[in-house]
Every structure is written in C-alpha cells, then in structure tokens.
Amino acid sequence: MKVDWTTFWPRILQATGETITMVIFTLIFASILGIIMGLLLFATRKGNILENRFIFSFLNLLINIIRPIPFIIFLVAISPLTRFVVGTTIGTTAAIFPMTIAAAFAIARVVENNLVSIDPGIIEAAKAMGASPIQIIFGVLIPEALGPLILGITFITVGLIDFSAMAGTVGGGGLGDLAMTYGYQRFDTSVMIVTVVILIILVQIAQFIGNMLSRFFLRR
C-alpha cells in the first residue's frame, strides 16, 4: 500500500515544520535552563567564585540521575509531570517539555565542561581587578567559553533532532512520527527514505550554523 505522493508532500512539509518547532523551542528553553545550571555547577565547585558544597552536590547528583535514563523511557516516565505542566501528553507542544528537561541537563554538563577548561589564571586576573562574581560570570566566563560552548550546544541540537523523532513515536508529531507510521508500520520504504534524507539535511544545516557561529566567536 503505497502513499500518494501528490497529497503526501504537504504532510511531509507539515511534519518537518513540527520537528523544527520542537527542536527550536526545546533549544531555547533548554539553553536558558542548561546555561544557568551549568554556570551554577561551575561557580559552586570547590575553590571557585561562589563555592557552595550543597548546591554543587545537589546539581551534580541530579544531572547524574537524569542523564543516563534513555530518552524514550524518560519521555514516558515524566508524562504525569508533562500532563501537569502542559495539560496533555500528546502533540508537538507536549513533546517540547520532556525534551527541554532532558536537553537542559545535557547542556548543563556541556557548559560546565567548557567553563572548567578556561585557564584559572584568567579568572584570577579578573578577580585581582576587583570584578564581582556576577561580573566574572558574564564578563569573563561566558565570553571566554562561547566558541566551544556553541559547538557543544550544536552537538546537543543534533541530538535533539534525534529526540524529536522519538517523541514523535509517542504522539509528538514530526518526521519521526511520519517515518514510524508510514515507513515502518506500513512498510513504505520510500517514506522512510524521504524522512531520513530530510533529517540528514536538518542535521547538516544545524551543524553548519553551529560551526559558523563558533568560528566567529573563537576568532580562528
């Protein structure tokens, strides 16, 4: 049972739009949350500008609990919370919530790792100039780590395209949903190939933009 491509293209277009929506909104929310968590994690580390063992241990533990859970399981496990926050567990909007949570913790780690690699001497220099912790975070840490940070977030974005496909299978819509219902369950290989090609193109675009931005900020 083959699909009729003249009527099917608009569906593909719509699914692509849903995937892009999920990824972009997740990226925005998760970046905000993840960057805040990552900065806190770094700043509260032992010997750092806002050293605080309690906050550090709490965040560190939380990240280590959430991160290893396979996303497809996390998606289901978190659904009561999703229903509570979004009102439903089905549809593109509902998919953004679990994706944001999972991605935020991943971004927090990426942010922390990139901050750790900043030469402590640079932070010391800013401290010696009389910069406050807030001034150091926004005036030194973020600008110094921005290049590699963008690459890290690009990596997460590519992962999000993958997440969105999984979210699709549990009613999130998007290309993943399409590929599963038409390509996998109805054995229509052509649909699968088309969706996969579109996914590949999306990943290429995301990586291209990320590389360009990071090169601009790395100034290399």
Partner: protein
Amino acid sequence: MIRLERVSKIYESGGKKVEAVKDVSLHIKKGDIFGIIGFSGAGKSTLLRLVNLLERPTKGNIIVDNYDLNSISSKDLRQLRRKIGMIFQTFNLFNSRTVYGNIAYPLKLEKKSKEEIHQRVTELLQFVGLEDKADKFPEQLSGGQKQRVGIARALATSPDILLCDEATSALDPETTNEILNLLKKVNEEFNITILLITHEMNVIRKICNRVAVMENGRIIEEGEVFNIFSNPQEKTTKNFISSVVNEKLSSSLLEKLRKDHERKLYRIVFSGDTASQPILSTLTAKHNIHFNIIYGSINELQNQLFGNLIVEFIGADSQIEEVLKELTEIVEVREVTNGES
C-alpha cells in the same frame, strides 16, 4: 604602603598541612621596587597573593594602603583591588577580547564612560608602545607584546601598587630586558610601588632597590639590593648572586691558579665609591711592591659599581703585610684558600 606583620599561610590538602608562608614580616615603602626571590615552592607566589587577598592569611596582619585586610569588607576589597594592578607569568589576557578590550575591561568595571575609556586606553597603548595593535587579539601577539598589554591593563585604573608574578619568566632575555625597562618607567613616571616575585637574580639586579630572599616559606635575608649583593649572608642568597655575578671560580680553575702562582692569593671586594678609586695602585706604589690581577669582575648595581678581584702581591713580605693592613681598613680583603674560591 604594604605592611605584613607575622603572616602565615597554611594550606590543608588531603589531611596534610602545608605551611606555604611562615611568620613573614615585611614593609614595602611607597615608590619601592621590592623584589622577592626564591626557588619554586619557596612560597613567594602565595606571599604575593596575600597582598590583594587572592589568598587569605591564616595568621598575622596585612595592611595595604591603610586597609587592614583582616577586617576589610568585600566591597572595600573590590575597591582596593582596583588600586592594585597585577601582571602574570602567563599574562592571563582575555582571549575573547581585543587588546583594546583587555585594557578597557577594568575601566568598564569602574563604569567609566565610553569617551573616558577611549581616552585612557589610547594613552596606555601609547605608553606601552602598542598603538597599532589595538584591534588584535592576544593570540596574534608575541610574548613581550602580551605582557605589555598585561601591564597596560594593570595600569588602567591608575593603581598605587603593581604586583608582578614572575612577569618575565616566560620571556626571552632580550624581551625580559624590555619589560623590565618598562616596569622601571612605570615606577618612575607614575610613582607606582612595585612588588615582584622572581627566581631570576638578574631581574632583582636590574630594577629592584630592595630584595627579600625567600626559602621554605620564610624570608631568610632582606635589605637594599646593593648591600645584599656586596655582602650576602645566607647560602641561598650567595647562590642566587653567583648566578648573575660571576665571582666564584670553579675549583679546577682555582687549583690551576694556585699551581701557577706560588704566592698567596687574596680576594678584594670593592663596593660603592671604593670601586672607582685607584686604591690598589696607590697603596702598592706607596710600599713599593707590585700586584698582579689574576681574576676580576666589576658589575653595575643600582647605579653603583661593585667589584671583585683576585690578586697576588709581589715584593717583600713585610711590605705586603703593611699593604694588607691598610687595604683592610678601606675594602674587604680575604685570603683565598682551597676551601673558598
């Protein structure tokens, strides 16, 4: 300007206590270029960081610019730090900012207007001789240029004190001299008190007026650079001095000299005015004996001469005795024995 009273700093790592700074008292006066020399691990880096409280003392009092650092509020501390510039061995420039941006950063912290910042940065770029590098990023600069940016950045807020953490240790000898001259100019033109740490005696000799020698967390010797050079007391101090003033002879050379010269050898140490007077020739002529210079070196230190000669005297023993007696009253004279070179 800076006063340390019985300051100690103890680190605890893995249950082990490490006393990096032990009971150090120091007084650095306004306008000094004060050098602290020591081998790595002597505690000088920790000592330097106590002055702007990048490290907190475990014991003792530190007074900087009339602030007692034990009771300073964090707001006052940030204010004080803007009056203390700091430069580093690894420069620690912000890689994400241009040369201009690096120098402007401390001014931005002070919330200065764009015009004020532009004027000050331009001034400083000119002072360090990097007018044409304003838009370059640190990675596009050489080591010497990076340190110039570091100096300009440290001077941006017109500090009273400049702390130098091994500021020339990563530079080649020629660039080191350029940077040292620049530091001297900073001290002379702006009357900025400089506290520097180094492991190179050459740095002390070139620009410092006072020096403290540090070993195992303690200051083992301290004083005017000229006095320390001409009359060092401690073994470590002597070692540091011999690294720049080549007064020691190798034992093999000494042995050869003693073989070639049957007479007794004497070391004569001149310093200050005596180094520029013809003392030896006057005295030997007076007593009608001759002298033969076997080895010698004359160095310039703090605009004074400092000399070191090994000589033998040729003539009657009684006359030589007389010459030695009169010499001893003016300069330091020691007989060179096998044990001492």
